[in-house]
C-alpha cells in the first residue's frame, strides 16, 4: 500500500518534469534573441549584448548605470531613457511615470522594456560618469533611534567627485529570505570637497529590505558596492532666496548643500532651512547647524517638532513643517525677492510643502525636490 503512494508520486513528478522540460525547450527557442547591438547617443558608444533582458540590466552589465532608485522594480520612474528605435507601444507599467512631452519623445522606463532587437537610445552624457565602486564602512553613528549616519571610505586613489545634493545607490548582498542583491538610493550628506569618503543617512523603514539589513547586519569594516553619483537635486546658481525643507533622513542632501556653500565661501545667499521631526529626540545635528549659522551670516536654521509632549524642554518651533514654513513665508521672508524651494523627504511631506510654497507665490518650476 505504501509503495503505491510512492509510485503515484513518481508518476506525477514524471508528468511535471516532462512539461517543465517542454517549457524550457520552448523558452530557449522563443526567448533567444541572439546578440543585439545597442547604440547610445548616435553611435557615441556601441555595445553588443545578449538580448532578452531588460534594458536597465543589459546596460548595467556593460557598466553604464541608469539611475534607478527602486532597483528595477518599476516603482520610482527614475530610469528613463529615450528610445529612438520603434520598439512597440508604451507598457501600462510605464504610463504613470510619463507626462505628455515624454510620451511624444519616446521616453521609456529602461527597467520595463526588454532588449529584443537592435536599438538606439539617448541618455544624458553625465551618466557615462557614473561608476560602481567598492567602499568600506568606516563608521556607523546612531543619530536618533531610527536614523544612522554611515561613513563609507573608498579605496586608495579613488576620486569620487559629485555635486552637493546628488545621491548614490547602495547595494547589499542577499540575506535571510532575500535572495537577490538589493539596491536603494540614498542622498550623500557629506560635502563634495571630501573625495575619498561619503556619508549617508539611513532611516529604518519598517519592513524595508535594505534598511533592515543596515540596522541588523551592517558592521564597520564591511565592504559594499556603491553606484553613483546620480540625480539633479543640485543648487541652481543665482541669487534667489533658498527655502529648504526636509524631514528625517531628508536632511542628507541639504546638509551636503550647506556644507558645500561653507567650503566655497558663498556667504551672501539667503537660506532658510526648515527641518521637521516628530519629537525632540528625533532631532539631530542642531548644534552643527547652529555653528553653520555663525559661519554663514544669511543662513537660518529652523528645526521644529510636531508632537507636543508634556515636560518637553523643546524651545524651538512647534507644529507641522507646513504650518511653520507658511508662518515664516508670510512674516519673516521677503516676499518680493526671487525665491526657490529645495525639498527632500517623504512624498506626502513634499506634496504638502509644494502646495504651501505655491500658495505663497513661489513658482512651481522653481521648486526642486527628491522624493524617496
Amino acid at each position: 500500500m505504501e509503495y503505491k503512494f510512492l509510485f503515484d508520486s513518481l508518476v506525477i513528478a514524471g508528468i511535471s518534469t516532462i512539461l517543465a522540460l517542454l517549457i524550457i525547450i520552448v523558452d530557449s527557442i522563443v526567448n533567444n534573441y541572439g546578440e543585439v547591438t545597442i547604440s547610445i547617443n548616435d553611435n557615441k558608444k556601441v555595445i553588443k549584448a545578449k538580448g532578452g533582458s531588460s534594458l536597465l540590466t543589459t546596460l548595467s552589465a556593460e557598466r553604464i548605470f541608469i539611475p534607478s532608485a527602486c532597483g528595477g522594480r518599476g516603482t520610482c520612474g527614475a530610469c528613463k531613457v529615450i528610445v529612438t528605435t520603434d520598439i512597440g507601444p508604451v507598457y501600462p507599467t510605464e504610463k504613470p511615470f510619463m507626462d505628455k512631452s515624454e510620451l511624444e519623445t519616446n521616453t521609456r522606463l529602461s527597467c520595463q522594456i526588454k532588449v529584443k532587437q537592435d536599438v538606439s537610445i539617448k541618455i544624458p552624457e553625465e551618466l557615462f560618469l557614473i561608476k560602481k565602486i567598492k567602499a568600506r564602512v568606516e563608521k556607523i553613528t546612531d543619530l536618533t533611534h531610527d536614523i544612522k549616519e554611515i561613513i563609507f571610505k573608498f579605496n586608495e586613489g579613488v576620486d569620487f567627485s559629485f555635486k552637493a545634493g546628488q545621491y548614490v545607490q547602495l547595494e547589499i548582498p542577499p540575506y535571510e529570505k532575500i535572495k537577490d542583491f538589493t539596491q536603494r538610493a540614498y542622498s550623500i550628506s557629506s560635502a563634495p570637497k571630501i573625495k575619498d569618503k561619503i556619508e549617508l543617512l539611513i532611516r529604518l523603514v519598517p519592513g524595508g529590505i535594505l534598511t533592515t539589513y543596515v540596522f541588523k547586519f551592517m558592521k564597520e569594516e564591511m565592504e559594499f558596492d556603491i553606484i553613483g553619483p546620480m540625480g539633479d537635486f543640485i543648487v541652481r546658481e543665482n541669487n534667489s532666496v533658498m527655502i529648504c525643507g526636509a524631514g528625517g533622513s531628508g536632511m542628507a542632501p541639504i546638509k551636503s548643500i550647506i556644507e558645500d556653500m561653507i567650503d566655497n565661501n558663498i556667504k551672501d545667499r539667503e537660506i532658510w532651512y526648515f527641518f521637521g521631526a516628530r519629537s525632540a529626540s528625533d532631532q539631530f545635528y542642531i548644534e552643527k547647524f547652529r555653528s553653520y549659522e555663525k559661519i554663514l551670516p544669511n543662513f537660518h536654521y529652523v528645526p521644529m517638532i510636531s508632537e507636543s509632549e508634556s515636560g518637553d524642554r523643546w524651545k524651538g518651533e512647534k507644529g507641522m513643517i507646513t504650518t511653520v514654513m507658511d508662518k515664516f513665508l508670510k512674516t519673516k521672508i521677503d516676499k518680493n525677492a526671487p525665491r526657490e524651494g529645495y525639498l527632500c523627504g517623504s512624498p506626502g511631506m513634499i506634496d504638502a510643502c509644494v502646495k504651501i510654497m505655491k500658495d505663497n507665490g513661489i513658482k512651481e518650476e522653481n521648486i526642486y525636490y527628491d522624493k524617496f
Partner: protein, 197 residues
C-alpha cells in the same frame, strides 16, 4: 461507453447549443473584463481556443494512457491543472515574442487563462461524457470557438452601447451581466436544433 455522436454535429453543438460560456456560464471573469475592447477580445478568444484544444488533447492522452491504467484517476485534477498551466506558459512566451501589442493588451488575463474555468470545465466534460479522442478534439475546438464567438459578440454589443444612457448604478459590469443574460436566452433558441448530452 463512448457516446455515438458524429464529430461534426458535436462541433456545432458545442459552439451553439452547448456554448461553454452562455449555457454553462464557465470562464466568465475574463469574458466580462476583456470584452471592453474588441481587438483584445479577438486575441484572447484565439488564445483560449488554442490553450483549450492543446491542453484538452494532452489531458486526454495522459488520462487514457497514464492515469487510468495505473489507477491514478484520483490525481486527475492536479494533473489537468499542471497541463493547462504549462500550455499557458508556452503560449505566453509565444505571444510575447510574436505580438507585443497583444501581449500588453491582454495583460494579466493571459497568465490567468490557467484558471479560466472554461478550460478545466471542458477537460472534465470530456472525461464525464466519455468522448473518444476525435470527439474530444472536435468538442474542445468547438467549445473554444464558442467562447471566442461569444466574447466577440459581447465586445461588439458593448461597443455599440458605449454611449447609451445606462443608469449610473448599472454601468460597466452591471449592464454587461444583463447583456450576457440576454445573449444566453438568445442562444437557448439554438437548443432545439441539435442536442447532444
Amino acid at each position: 461507453m463512448t457516446p455515438n455522436i458524429n464529430v461534426v454535429i458535436l462541433l456545432f453543438a458545442s459552439i451553439f447549443t452547448g456554448n461553454i460560456v452562455l449555457s454553462y456560464f464557465l470562464g466568465l471573469c475574463s469574458f466580462i473584463s476583456i470584452s471592453k475592447d474588441l481587438k483584445s477580445s479577438n486575441g484572447l478568444g484565439l488564445a483560449v481556443t488554442f490553450v483549450l484544444t492543446i491542453s484538452v488533447a494532452i489531458c486526454y492522452v495522459i488520462l487514457k494512457y497514464i492515469l487510468k491504467p495505473f489507477d491514478l484517476e484520483y490525481l486527475r485534477f492536479i494533473v489537468f491543472i499542471i497541463v493547462i498551466a504549462a500550455v499557458v506558459q508556452i503560449l505566453e512566451m509565444l505571444i510575447e515574442r510574436m505580438s507585443s501589442a497583444l501581449y500588453i493588451s491582454l495583460g494579466i488575463f493571459l497568465p490567468l487563462i490557467t484558471v479560466n474555468c472554461a478550460i478545466l470545465g471542458v477537460v472534465l466534460f470530456m472525461e464525464i461524457r466519455k468522448y473518444d479522442f476525435l470527439q474530444t478534439l472536435f468538442f474542445s475546438i468547438g467549445s473554444g470557438i464558442g467562447w471566442w464567438i461569444a466574447i466577440l459578440a459581447l465586445a461588439a454589443i458593448r461597443r455599440k452601447i458605449e454611449n447609451a444612457p445606462v443608469p449610473a448604478g448599472l454601468k460597466d459590469a452591471g449592464i454587461t451581466l444583463i447583456i450576457i443574460g440576454l445573449m444566453a436566452m438568445a442562444f437557448m433558441g439554438f437548443s432545439g436544433m441539435l442536442s447532444v448530452q
